[in-house]
């Protein structure tokens, strides 16, 4: 990782890596770290409020923060004899979608890694299969979702399939590209130590492509989220995408915006988790 941070000559030299740590400064540093993003969030909210006040656009399309907040509160309560929104609490909607995404991306991980490795290492396979992969990864879900419904029904299966189809290409392609970037000598060394075809994959190829695999997975998760509404256009309740779709059609923009925010925040959290995992699993990044 490269940080180009301007250093003034008077700046204390020591990034003393082994300096003893105390709790106070640690807390203060954590607070300091959170301060800027929080500030930026506040600015954003203020801007939003301003736009609404200026009535640049109809409230129909840009709801006021307060009404989105009200919907949030409502979404976790029983009101008018109905639970939350469209009969489910917000967290139930969110969880329904999240579980579909985790399943879709989970399958995509297994399939994408295997596919990427096969594409990269078995030339005849690549010649035959790569065009189809490129074909599939360009297909718009809206155009072929009906087929999935015919094959897999309107329940979760077809939704998970759609998310899977959205998620595997970035993983496969990242792995493929990662393998192509491995220095020849890395492979040679293992083979001269006696590694067979699959041992090379296990001990050299896979660890080598871990950084790319993580990038691919992060991209796949993002893609899956962008596809969640398409996947939940049919029988999508409970589901945060289905809720967004339905309420958008009714121009209940405050709920739709609430859904969008919920999707975005969940995606951020998920992404953070993957990044933390990456740090643990790939400590050699940028060092070798």
């Amino acid at each position: 990782m490269i940080e180009i941070v301007e250093k003034t000559p008077e700046a204390p030299v020591a990034r003393r890596r082994a300096a003893p740590r105390r709790i106070g400064p640690l807390l203060r540093r954590a607070a300091g770290r959170a301060a800027i993003p929080l500030l930026s969030l506040a600015v954003l909210l203020a801007l939003w409020q301003l736009v609404v006040e200026l009535e640049l656009w109809s409230e129909l399309f840009v709801p006021r923060p307060s009404s989105v907040w009200e919907r949030l509160v409502e979404s976790e309560r029983v009101h008018d004899g109905q639970k939350g929104l469209s009969g489910y609490y917000l967290h139930e909607h969110l969880w329904a979608s999240l579980s579909r995404i985790l399943r879709g991306v989970g399958f995509a991980l297994v399939f994408g890694v295997v596919l990427g490795l096969l594409l990269a290492t078995v030339k005849p396979f690549r010649v035959v299969v790569e065009p189809y992969v490129n074909f599939v990864r360009a297909l718009p879900p809206l155009a072929y979702f009906s087929l999935l419904i015919i094959w897999f029904g309107i329940e979760d299966t077809s939704k998970v399939w759609l998310l899977f189809l959205a998620a595997f290409p970035p993983i496969a392609l990242s792995v493929l590209s990662g393998v192509q970037g491995i220095r020849r000598e890395r492979i040679d060394a293992a083979r001269a130590l006696g590694a067979g075809r699959w041992q090379v994959v296990r001990f050299v190829t896979l660890p080598s492509v871990l950084p790319e695999l993580f990038t691919g997975t992060r991209l796949a998760l993002g893609f899956a989220w962008t596809t969640i509404v398409a996947a939940e256009t049919v029988d999508g309740i409970p589901g945060i995408g289905g809720l967004a779709w339905a309420t958008k059609k009714f121009q209940q923009t405050d709920v739709a915006v609430l859904c969008i925010i919920a999707i975005g925040l969940t995606a951020i959290v998920l992404d953070q988790l993957v990044k933390q995992l990456e740090k643990r699993v790939v400590p050699w990044r940028g060092k070798a």
Partner: protein, 257 residues
């Protein structure tokens, strides 16, 4: 892998030409060479003359553009664990600890955990890295990485050792010690060694036979057995007049091409 069977190395009319970005480069002129099992062949030659290319051809990393490389009865077409390679530039796996790097060969042939540990401890000790067994390779200095690589290959016990300037980044003391260790390991093991070095003294000290290569395209311009190869090693030898004489004899050949 215990050295068994016939592993005579034969290069028959072997030449190698690289397709360069600009022009093609004839790295090796056609050359023929046979290395008998148990020989310790030291190669010296000017920088860029094709030593590494020669070694990689024997290792099976490259396929010659002309001629045939064979080990025993079999034509070399791919790397094999019977031919262990110490690379010119350290080539350790950063996702494995130093110890795991050394254990890799035994692990690949499914040696037991205890056996692996024993081998790793032994060879890490030999190269003086016991203390760093749990470090990551990128936490080692240049010379330490090179030593780790040597340990990795030795732990795999290859019948043929291909060593590309293994001691290049080591200080004199460490180097002397490792030369003696390598000699001891080779001695009586029946192993064959192909040893590239820039130090004529090292070549003469370790080799049973010394080759000198001409500048690119590499040919073999000198090929003689070392007269005192069967004798004792040690500081005494380095000072012995026949050692110095042979060293000078070889040194005089370099750059003759």
């Amino acid at each position: 892998m215990i050295a068994t069977g016939d592993h005579r190395v034969v290069l028959d009319g072997v030449a190698h030409r690289y397709r360069g970005r600009g022009a093609d480069v004839q790295a090796l002129a056609p050359l023929s060479l046979a290395i008998e099992p148990g020989e310790f062949v030291a190669i010296v030659g000017p920088s860029g003359c094709g030593k590494t290319t020669l070694l990689q051809l024997v290792a099976g990393f490259l396929t010659p553009t002309e001629g045939v490389v064979a080990v025993g009865e079999e034509r070399v077409s791919a790397p094999s664990p019977e031919r262990g390679v110490v690379f010119q530039q350290a080539n350790l796996y950063p996702w494995m600890s130093v110890r795991a790097n050394v254990e890799l060969g035994p692990r690949l042939r499914r040696a037991g955990r205890a056996e692996r540990r024993r081998l790793a401890d032994r060879y890490l000790g030999l190269v003086g890295l016991s203390e760093f067994a749990d470090a990551a390779p990128y936490e080692l200095s240049g010379g330490m990485q090179q030593r780790c690589q040597i340990a990795r290959v030795l732990a795999n016990d290859p019948a043929i050792m291909l060593l590309d300037e293994p001691f290049g980044a080591l200080d004199a003391l460490t180097r002397d010690r490792l030369q003696d260790e390598l000699h001891r390991i080779w001695l009586g093991s029946g192993k064959t060694a192909l040893f590239i070095t820039h130090s004529v003294e090292e070549a003469v000290y370790l080799g049973t036979r010394v080759l000198v290569m001409s500048p690119r395209p590499g040919r073999i311009v000198f090929d003689e057995p070392v007269p005192f190869a069967t004798g004792e090693r040690g500081a005494a030898l380095r000072a012995a007049p026949e050692f110095v004489a042979f060293r000078e004899h070889v040194a005089a050949q370099i750059g003759r091409g």
